[in-house]
Symmetry: D2
């Protein structure tokens, strides 16, 4: 592993530390790697070491390149300095992607607390958008004024272009109330953005990875908290794909909850949306016939279907309806193949 430390802004004491794993040679399947850009917390007053190196390690173990950005804090934290630091870091990571062996379209940002605010800002208002964002007990709304008076509320900026997010926090966090996470989830739902979230029943603010080397083992904290680390890696593999032969495998989780706003139709459009498209309807009926009326969500008998249930079905993804109908994966792929040639008249 090579380590590089680059001063991005001497006056503001901004630096980017790169932990770069080897590629090629015995890692014969790996020409490039996905990456994480870590934004430690510290109330925009400092960058916590507890949320820097310890966070990098599990992603390095999983095969990701890891970068730590120590952004403008304290008297330098006036907005948009921290966001500019992020832009500079992400731009450099992508510009040097060949040299650093990074898949430039698979770079996730990970931020904690105030760093979670910065990560959310990167996900919603930056020019160099991350491809995924992991937000640890993040500050997202107006509470940010509490640690950086000039920093913006990120929630109004959530839109269709926001990347998929992984959010975790504890219910009893008194430094950053859990509503910061819940409100952000709501905004993601409104914008049809894919996300995962884990709100653990109790624990203090700032637990980082919750390893005993970082957070005292005497801490009163839920036993599930440390799971966020492995869960976030499992989630990244679904968003970015996993290591395959030379390239990454196809992602299994899309950036949007549905494909209704895609360029072409797909089995991840809702049933109602596809049936509303004459060509789409033809494809579906070719495979399902009347099956559309025989769905058993949760195992229910068609005969018991209420109009409300029917309306639910029309809100379901075609993929799930085909799965309920026990179509083999190959057939579902055929359906998808045919739909993917039908332009989506939005």
């Amino acid at each position: 592993m090579k380590v590089e430390k680059i001063v991005l802004n001497e006056a503001r004491e901004v630096s980017l530390t790169a932990y770069l794993l080897d590629t090629g040679g015995e890692f014969r399947n790996i020409c490039k790697r996905p990456a994480v850009l870590i934004l430690p917390g510290g109330g925009y007053q400092f960058c916590s070491e507890r949320e820097a190196d310890p966070v990098a390690m599990p992603y390095l173990k999983a095969g990701y390149q890891a970068f730590i950005l120590r952004y403008s804090v304290g008297k330098h934290s006036v907005w948009p300095n921290p966001l500019q630091d992020y832009e500079q870091a992400m731009e450099m990571i992508r510009k040097r992607a060949e040299e650093w062996k990074v898949f430039s379209d698979k770079v996730a940002v990970i931020g904690f607390s105030a760093g979670g605010h910065l990560a959310a800002a990167a996900a919603t208002m930056s020019e160099n958008r991350p491809n995924a964002a992991i937000l640890g007990y993040p500050v997202t709304g107006s509470d940010v004024k509490g640690c950086c008076a000039t920093a913006p509320d990120t929630i109004p900026s959530v839109d269709k272009n926001t990347c998929p997010c992984f959010i975790f926090a504890t219910r009893t966090d008194e430094i950053v109330p859990v509503m910061n996470s819940i409100r952000f989830m709501e905004a993601l739902v409104q914008a049809d953005i894919s996300f995962e979230s884990h709100i653990y029943s109790y624990g203090p603010h700032g637990f980082s990875t919750c390893d005993t080397s970082v957070q005292s083992r005497d801490t009163t904290i839920s036993s599930r908290v440390p799971n966020w680390v492995a869960d976030s890696i499992g989630w990244l593999k679904e968003i970015f794909g996993d290591f395959g032969n030379g390239e990454m495998t196809k992602p299994v989780c899309k950036a949007h909850a549905t494909d209704n706003d895609g360029e072409f139709l797909s089995v991840d459009c809702t049933f109602g949306y596809v049936m509303g498209n004459p060509e789409g309807r033809k494809v579906v009926e070719g495979f399902l016939g009347g099956a559309g009326n025989q769905e058993r969500p949760g195992g229910q008998e068609a005969s018991q279907m209420t109009p409300e249930m029917m309306s639910m079905v029309s809100g379901m993804k075609l993929r799930q309806i085909l799965e309920y109908a026990h179509m083999p994966k190959e057939v579902i792929e055929q359906v998808n193949g045919q739909l993917s040639m039908i332009p989506n008249q939005r």
Copy 2:
């Protein structure tokens, strides 16, 4: 294990099935057991077998008595029939607690989908309140009209008397949109109720335990989903306490996020709240002295504290401030002992 099936209402085909584990004898530490009351889903049109027995097993493994309520559905589902069925079941469980070896103050309700609506109704509007509620991809808001026109929205009924909740769902559930879970969380926060939630990135509605014997292994669903089962058991152990010598150990997670509304003060009141009480302030200063100014949330130096940070500190639980100050658990218990004799002037 004994199995009992009791018909609660022949006309409405309502029944309670009890799976009763042995106590005493070789289970010498166990005179009674905590219990779960399972409410299967099925859109109030039927009670899904996929969310009945398979759900009982993991809790039986953990040592819980398990009950399955098959409540009024279809033409019998007109409200408040299902809630009355619940009342009858919970009343019977507590009335027969001695015979069935159940801790009558440790009975959790577990509901899925429409059964999750019923569980939420039990938690918010029943006479025989459960002591905890596990809500699986629950219907909570006005969407319930879609499967039972007469069923009420449970969210407005969330209040201080609502029990702790464990909520899980998938982001992409199209039958019960994830907002049903998020809105309920919000209501719990407003009422200061303890909860845990896991929103998994993707997967269909109605996955139950997600074992391959219940949900097809070909299902497009997040790899984290099956974790809800073990996580909910870990959570119950924190809410109810764990099996000890003859009785259950003391719970480590309280029903409310803070103790500010308790009868007496405690280390789980917020720092500001305790300091606002003259006697409470004396106790704290006796232990902390000026330490109150030395907190390092997220490791920050006191010198860097902004007024906003100070206001955060006053919102923190005293317990966590004492932990940040590295007070040993015993000392924290001493502080708690002294505070617990000070009446809370609300």
Copy 3:
């Protein structure tokens, strides 16, 4: 779930309890289920309830039918009474497989301590062999005389017909020394039998599932111990296959470590064995060409291969050599298809 209790032998107080999960209906993919037959421990003096019901639950959760055999103990324990009880139970399970919805070729036996001795006897000397055996801190060698003077040492009976085994114990078990498990593993290796084993660093005898409802939470025991339950289920899925559409999927782990003694050749024969067969050699060379010389076990360069390494390669399974050569799974299946038509001249 239906529960049946059948008295197998009134005089000896032998009974079989059946926990039978539903099939069909909403469990539409399930016409039959694999099963476990549980043999509790108790030094052949009694049948421990701690190793009966609590053990059944996790397998029921996983979708298995569960049977508990309370066999001849105390004054009735004189050999071969317990083994006869087993034969009677297993015979009945298979005879009533249609009625009880059991895959009669997917019945595992699970025994603990003295019950582990009986399970090992079933796996090595019974007429009605189980299809897999899970042995919990088993008595396997001459130590059995300590609890049943007439019971035989099972180790000399391990042979090619012994079923795959999953063995677990703690290093510090003073009631049944860990050598009982280690010696049995050795015998399985000698007979080329597939197995998995977990020896945990410390803990007492008789911990069963190690749930706090069965084993006191104050017990001095390794934190890994409870993992045996989920690990044994994961293992069974590899030995029996998993729930698929109507039938079980193909097993991924075979009963023998290699196929060298199979009826036909396969990619699970060793490289040297296949190359020793003229037709087999042709098939391999057709796909590998000279690749046989380019293996890189552990990533090593061919040029660095010593004769000893070459001899290792000939001891490797063809499947792994093909994987090292990065052949796609489909191609490996082609190779296997061609080999599987070549009779094995033993």
Copy 4:
């Protein structure tokens, strides 16, 4: 994190790479750290990069300092060169313990394949013994001649001074037959050494951490294999103790299975051994009274105790007998305190 690379022997191309985590500052509880010394595999022909950096990461995450020794291989591998390289590395780590912030009595060696042979040699025949050894699919017996003709069989050297070991391998490893692990376990039992082992049902040789970035996700390998990493860290915490306030907590797992050969008596001597010592007997009877006759191993009734069972009891650790008698942990500590003042007449 600082990275240092030190050339230990230029002629033999031997180097030590140190990954050194920060201490103090925000890691206020950490003045020093335990450490791991990693010995990659490669048949003594090379040092595999797949078993170097990827292995360091999880231990760094857990808070351990990590060192990688690239020892003498190929033409330089003639024994005792590799062992001398180890001695030099371990000596340096302990000599620079203050500078590198390492607890010099908490340094574990981790070796894979041939590196596992070297780790076993370190554990059994070195001058600078490690405090624990993690052996991954290790070569331990005469098979080592296959990759290094001059290297010794380590099994005959296992004795009372061998450190605790954690061993893992796959049953179907054809490059290093599983008997290499089993024979080593046997030797550890003979010498009363503490160990943990996991033999996974199937998988190839050389899987390292089994992350998809190191071992192809298409590999035919048991789903439990990746667990060895977290399990080995959990084990190290029990052997070394966990991070506490400034120092490590007391280990919960001892280096020997019993204390019968200790300097003083303890509750970890066997019951029979303590009762054989007049003073020891007095202490025990003071607490247990006749309780010694009322033990219920596996829950059995005293009345049913056979002489053989009684002899088992005498082979049990006193600690477990006290636990069976449901003595609270504090009382057990009292018994231990009194025994620990009684010299052990060996």
